[in-house]
Amino acid sequence: MSATIKLKYRNKEYEVPAGMTVRDAIKKVGLQPETILAVVDGKLLTDDLVLREGMIVKLVAVISGGAPTPTLPHPTEPRGLGKGERRGS
């Protein structure tokens, strides 16, 4: 099994391959990089940072008045969806 990174956005979790940049990982899950901040252990990450195996990255929406919805939910992974919750809802 290939190395992965866990991304947490709101109450959803995604996995992307290790070795991607923060910017590419955000795009991979269908979010706009301009509207998201990536945080690991309370520290902000710049978009060019390459994600390493085992990292757990919290994605924070920056737009006031509602979080953006992922336009293209990751095809392989959305996990941990709550009861009755739809993908990308």
Binding site: Q32, L37, L44, V62, I63, S64
Partner: protein, 324 residues
């Protein structure tokens, strides 16, 4: 990526400025820039008594934080809207505003719409039948009225709001697409108190991207309400913000240029206020300035509520003040 100033690891890259900064230098840069904007647009000085409209969100709490760090006399105003939205939205936003005030020894004025005027904002939207089933229209009208009145009654010389560049650019785009000239002419970092009873309004964060404001709140450790108003989800403003961010993605600085070019065009006289637009007079009922003949929109709205709920008139209601 390294910090431009010290070569430590950067925590933010502001592509529109080609500027990456570490935590320490980002936390220095934000107040420095705010001070620069305050001076550039002649917003206020240290002799002014400032009222900061706080919602418990990242922008308004960060603004309050920056102003106190810059040594300004800034009290807060929290308006309780009575919005529950399944997440206890108003209760939580009040708690966070009070927490921030208490933590830093700041004075917070609180106005609860329901206890002051007789109905919550969602109730008001239903009863007044304004806003096509959404409370955003009555909410905006009520907040503008209460902010203006609180600033006036509390003898504040200026009212500061936490509008960031994304807020301003989204409104600008909407008004431009609709060629809403009377709104375009009024959009500015400073709205002068051009009539008696009208508070001077300023937007010290109007040149910061929303991304920078969220980053500031996070690295400064400000606890803010992450869930914004449940009624704003799917709003037109959010749509325009997303469109603008798609442009920004391809062309860093597009949002900033859009807004700054607009301000420059205004300075060069591209827009002019029609004489009829500028006419304001006191409301017959509450005395607040209004462009409508007779009663202001706020009083007319509450007249309808009074018919249904027997609510108090706005002119009779006082402001509830809490000192922390």
């Amino acid at each position: 990526m390294k910090c431009r100033k010290c070569s430590e690891t950067a925590i933010i890259n502001m592509r529109q400025h080609k500027l990456a900064l570490c935590q320490e230098h980002f936390l220095e840069w934000m107040p420095e820039q705010t001070q620069r904007f305050i001076e550039k647009y002649k917003m206020f000085d240290h002799a002014d008594k400032i009222l900061v409209a706080v919602s418990g969100g990242k922008d308004s709490l960060s603004l309050w934080d920056i102003l106190r760090r810059l040594g300004y006399q800034a009290d807060g105003l929290y308006i309780g809207l009575g919005i529950e939205g399944g997440i206890g939205y108003s209760d939580e936003s009040r708690r966070l505003s009070e927490h921030f005030a208490a933590e830093h020894g700041l004075k917070l004025n609180v106005v609860e719409v329901e206890s002051t005027y007789g109905a919550t904002i969602p109730e008001l939207a239903v009863i007044s039948n304004r806003g096509h089933g959404k409370p955003c229209s009555v909410c905006g009208l009520s907040k503008r009225y209460i902010m203006n009145r609180a600033a006036h009654d509390g003898d504040y010389t200026v009212l500061a709001t936490g509008h960031n560049l994304d807020d301003e650019a989204a409104v600008l785009m909407q008004n431009t697409l609709n060629w809403a000239g009377s709104y375009l002419v009024r959009q500015a970092p400073v709205l002068e108190a051009s009539r008696p009873g009208l508070a001077r309004k300023v937007k010290p964060l109007c040149r910061f991207y929303e991304r920078e404001m969220a980053a500031y709140a996070i690295v400064r450790g400000i606890e803010y309400i992450y869930d914004e108003c449940p009624h704003a989800v799917g709003s037109t403003t959010i749509y325009y913000k997303e469109v603008l961010n798609q442009m920004e993605e391809k062309r860093p600085g597009a949002k900033l240029q859009f807004y700054l070019s607009f301000l420059q065009a205004k300075e060069q006289g591209l827009f002019a206020l029609k004489a009829a637009d500028a006419e304001l007079h006191p409301c017959e009922k509450c005395g607040q300035p209004t462009s409508a003949p007779g009663e202001c929109s706020f009083c007319r709205m509450w007249d309808k509520v009074r018919e249904v709920k027997g609510a108090r008139l706005p002119a009779e209601a006082g402001l509830v003040q809490i000192e922390s």
